[in-house]
């Protein structure tokens, strides 16, 4: 394929595949049909068939990836909308985000050591529980590879959305705050979608926890990585 064709083809294919996968998800919602899982699968099969590399793909698609910056800015609006909830429930929210982030980083680090993974992989795995724009930023800062982190974040979201239902049945959770925090902290975007199905309050708490966890991780990541080494 000539360069000009690559520049036009891959972003167009990405948007088309995404729209198709989104339509499928709307018809049959579930973790298996999450567009975050299905869209890359379709595109990777296509890329393998066309012998395209990641470099070829990025030629025309990097601007789509750059939209993650403005997307981060857009999160100001849901935080603003939820300011009353934050004011009322700041203590459980703060404790939940702090404990959840600590478990995420500590479990990632300990398990990566136990499984004997390379340091580069280990650093890329640390911010996996955080929503994508924040995770990719943290990863770059702590010596991981942002595109690897993106893959791990995606898998975490899909796995978390699938595990969440099971955990809701097993754990004695009476408060909607706890149920929302479970999804927002464990499965970020995919979890928020799931939490919305459980209940409106669960959904908004999950969204809030997801954003706060992202911010908290961006804030403490540099200090954390210095202590973990």
């Amino acid at each position: 394929m000539p360069v000009e064709a690559k520049i036009l083809f891959w972003p167009a294919a990405t948007v088309a595949a995404y729209l198709l996968c989104r339509a499928l998800y709307r018809r049959r919602p579930g973790w298996q049909t999450s567009p975050l899982l299905t869209t890359p699968v379709v595109l990777i099969l296509l890329a393998v068939a066309l012998h395209a590399s990641y470099g070829d793909y990025l030629l025309g698609s990097h601007w789509l990836m750059a939209m993650v910056g403005p997307l981060t800015v857009a999160f100001a609006l849901p935080i603003y909308d939820q300011r009353a909830v934050i004011r009322r429930h700041w203590l459980p929210l703060a404790v939940g985000v702090a404990v959840g982030s600590l478990i995420a980083v500590a479990s990632g680090y300990a398990l990566a050591r136990a499984l004997d993974l390379a340091p580069e992989l280990r650093q890329s795995l640390l911010p996996r529980s955080v929503t994508m724009p924040f995770a990719m930023n943290v990863s770059g800062h702590v010596g991981g590879l942002p595109e690897l982190t993106a893959v791990f974040v995606m898998i975490t979201g899909v796995v978390g959305a699938a595990l969440g239902d099971l955990l809701l049945k097993l754990l004695p959770l009476r408060s909607s705050m706890a149920r929302g925090a479970l999804f927002g902290m464990g499965a970020h975007g995919a979890g928020v979608a799931k939490a919305r199905e459980v209940g409106a309050e669960e959904g908004s708490v999950a969204g809030l926890v997801m954003i706060l966890a992202g911010l908290a991780n961006v804030a403490v990541a540099p200090a954390l990585i210095m202590t973990l080494g």
Binding site: T14, L64, V73, A76, G164, G186
Partner: protein, 137 residues
């Protein structure tokens, strides 16, 4: 006359998704420029977000001026994550044992994170409810 221009430009701002998107990109650009100028260890998007949140709270801008634009980005945010996930193309090594190890790590780690977070929040909520009841007594 200037008042009318102001009003009609405000109407465009409240109705047009494209103009609102431009405004949000502008915040990001400002945040990015600030990060570069000062050398902050935080991504530009986060600074842009804090900037916009601060202006919303200070009533410098109304939520209507950014809601449609933000909804476009937030509603289809998964699309913007796809290019990064395509990085897998350069990592064929994940197809074997390494991939299985990573999957195991993510599975166990996510279980711990979800259960730990939910139980902690539940505990805090119950403690607060009990101390609230004590105060009432």
């Amino acid at each position: 006359m200037p008042r009318r221009i102001l009003l009609s430009s405000q109407r465009i701002l409240h109705r047009s998704r494209l103009v609102q998107l431009g405004l949000i990109v502008g915040f990001w650009w400002l945040g990015d420029a600030a990060v570069r100028a000062i050398g902050l260890p935080v991504p530009g998007g986060v600074i842009g977000m804090l900037l916009m949140l601060g202006l919303l709270l200070a009533r410098g801008i109304g939520p209507c001026s950014v809601r449609r634009g933000a909804d476009v980005l937030l509603g289809d945010m998964l699309l913007f994550f796809v290019p990064a996930v395509m990085g897998l193309l350069d990592h064929g090594e994940f197809l074997g044992l390494l991939g299985a190890k990573i999957f195991l790590l993510i599975l166990v780690g996510t279980l711990l994170v979800m259960a730990g977070t939910a139980l902690t929040v539940e505990l805090v909520q119950r403690l607060m409810a009990r101390s609230g009841a004590d105060h009432a007594r």
